[in-house]
């Protein structure tokens, strides 16, 4: 069973990202689960969501305390997100405009803000970063690009080129960061 935790701020679309990933698992022939943690709901408050993927029925119903992957929706959250707990060989995926490395952990970086801006994906809260992050996480998890695209089309039938373009760009530009550089906050 693969376990992943998303750490973000309220309004960034973490819950939708969790739903997309769980749906991609089903599309990929596996079992998927998205279990958001709803705190006191307000914009800007820290939010987290658990995502699980497994070839067999998922019985877990807790948050992921030691996930295999941590997705950081905003660079500012990196230290807090990792210190919440991660598998010792776990991987971190960070939305940041430049390469950020987390000590002792394999780290991937994608500039989801820039990709959303470029694709014209905005809401009242800012750029819709969850679409490019979905593409980036699919790439890191080795979920085929056609599965990723089908998942978006199933969720928003006819949603078209901007979503697919942004997710596809992130799929191809998410980069493994040099892990030698120690993380400094």
């Amino acid at each position: 069973m693969l376990e992943l935790r998303i750490n973000g701020f309220g309004g960034q679309g973490s819950v939708t990202l969790a739903h997309l990933l769980a749906q991609a698992a089903l599309e990929n022939g596996e079992h998927g689960q998205a279990l958001p943690f709803f705190g006191v709901e307000r914009r800007g408050a820290p939010v987290r969501a658990a995502v699980r993927m497994s070839p067999t029925t998922i019985h877990a119903h807790s948050q992921c305390e030691l996930p295999d992957y941590v997705v950081v929706m905003s660079e500012k959250l990196t230290k807090a997100a990792v210190s919440e707990g991660i598998n010792e060989i776990g991987t971190v995926i960070i939305n940041a405009p430049h390469a950020v490395a987390v000590e002792k952990h394999s780290t991937w970086q994608v500039d989801a803000d820039a990709i959303a801006h470029e694709a014209g994906l905005f809401s009242a809260d800012g750029p819709l970063i969850n679409i490019p992050l979905f593409g980036a996480v699919c790439r890191v998890l080795n979920i085929p690009q056609n599965i990723m695209e089908q998942t978006i089309l199933n969720k928003w039938p006819g949603s078209g080129e901007r979503n697919l373009g942004a997710a596809g760009k992130a799929y191809h530009t998410v980069a493994q960061v040099n892990v030698k550089r120690a993380f400094s906050a």
Binding site: A22, L26, H31, G32, Q33, L35, H59, A60, H61, S62
Partner: protein, 376 residues
């Protein structure tokens, strides 16, 4: 024959889809977190014509159940849902539904009770309704919520007793998981239309629930007590026939995991019991012969099935997500000791309260708790 369809859905939406599949006639509703999305989904289904039912928005939960009772007495198949303080506010009318022998089905999405306020799951709300004469299921997965609502209507209408289908707020209600939807014709075969023996009918006026003298009152109460016990074979039959038709099985009165040779048995309900399967695997890897016994029925408490399922000399670790105020520990432990007394003196019962107000219960935490309880 049509094949089952697999979708991704939340626990609350799974409940709404079961209500639609059950072809419910009347749904009175009032919102309360974390139940609200059940009512929202049903209101949408009624609005867009997917469900041919009457949705009745009212001003509070006491009126919700009053409307449910009246619609059920008029012969309708009735569903509603609530949580925590909404359920407590219904308390008086819960007795009216069971005493009136009205087969209402209600979901209670478990949430800790006020005060202080909490939004997250524990089991104080449903267990506090133990003595209201309702049958109570407790479910541990989204799929089980869907399956159990259909089984609940069948049992309720066979024996004219209302049924409460409980599941955890957030851990199930807001958890997106695969959900298998059997073809509608299979569900129709499992759950035929509701045909009550008696109903309120303006064309043929009759009175209902008048003042009774002691002898009549006592007779009604005795019948309710007897029939609640008599629901156990109906619960088993419903689970078996649902399995025969859909291929799906969540257990009947109880559900077990790696229990046959277990020396240490975890005993719990709802989503923590699903997670406990993983704790049992952890303990087995550590060389401990652990197993799980999950009562799917809390009321009637399935005494005979628990007694026959427990391995000889087992240590039973009851993990209660509630308090039994006035006693140390929780309510499930008290219920279990009650049925074991004099019948299974080989069994040791140990108890801890955990997960109150939604404190996360992980597989590692519960495995560690069980290990610690072994040394007590």
């Amino acid at each position: 024959m049509k094949a089952a369809q697999v979708i991704m859905d939340t626990g609350t939406h799974a409940a709404a889809l079961a209500v639609k599949s059950a072809r419910v006639d009347v749904v009175p509703g009032y919102p309360i977190t974390p139940q609200t999305s059940i009512m929202e989904a049903i209101a949408d289904m009624v609005e867009n014509g997917e469900l041919n039912a009457r949705f009745i928005p009212v001003e509070g939960e006491h009126s919700v159940l009053a409307a449910a009772v009246a619609a059920s007495a008029a012969g309708a198949r009735v569903f509603t849902a609530t949580s925590a303080n909404g359920l407590l506010y219904m308390h008086e009318v819960l007795h009216m539904a069971s005493g009136g022998r009205l087969p209402v089905v209600m979901c209670n999405v478990n949430r800790g009770v006020f005060a202080p306020w909490t939004l997250w799951a524990d089991h104080q709300d449903s267990f506090a309704q133990r003595d209201t004469g309702w049958i109570q299921y407790h479910c541990s997965s989204n799929q089980e919520v869907f399956n159990t609502i259909l089984q609940a209507f069948r049992v309720a209408e066979q024996i004219n007793i209302p049924v409460m289908v409980n599941f955890d707020g957030f851990a199930i209600s807001h958890c997106l998981m695969p959900l298998t939807l059997p073809p509608q014709e299979d569900i129709d075969r499992f759950l035929p239309p509701h045909k009550p023996e008696w109903r309120l009918d303006p064309a043929n006026p009759s009175s209902f629930s008048n003042v009774t003298m002691a002898a009549e009152y006592a007779t009604f109460r005795q019948m309710l007590s007897d029939d609640i016990m008599a629901s156990i074979p109906l619960v088993k039959q419903a689970a078996q026939e649902y399995k025969d038709i859909t291929g799906m099985w969540d257990g009947d009165t109880i559900d077990t995991y790696r229990l046959e040779d277990a020396e240490v048995v975890a005993f719990a309900v709802n989503s923590m019991a699903a997670e406990l399967r993983l704790s049992i695997d952890i303990l087995r890897e550590q060389g401990i012969k652990a197993g799980l016994l999950r009562p799917r029925l809390y009321l009637p408490f399935p005494a005979d099935d628990i007694i026959s399922a427990l391995p000889q000399n087992a240590q039973v670790m009851v993990l209660d997500r509630n308090y039994n105020y006035g006693h140390p520990g929780g309510i499930l432990a008290s219920e279990l000791k009650n049925v074991l007394f004099g019948r299974r003196n080989d069994i040791t019962v140990k108890n801890r309260v955990m997960g109150i107000g939604g404190i996360d219960l992980t597989r590692r935490f519960m495995a560690a708790e069980i290990r610690a309880m072994m040394d007590e």
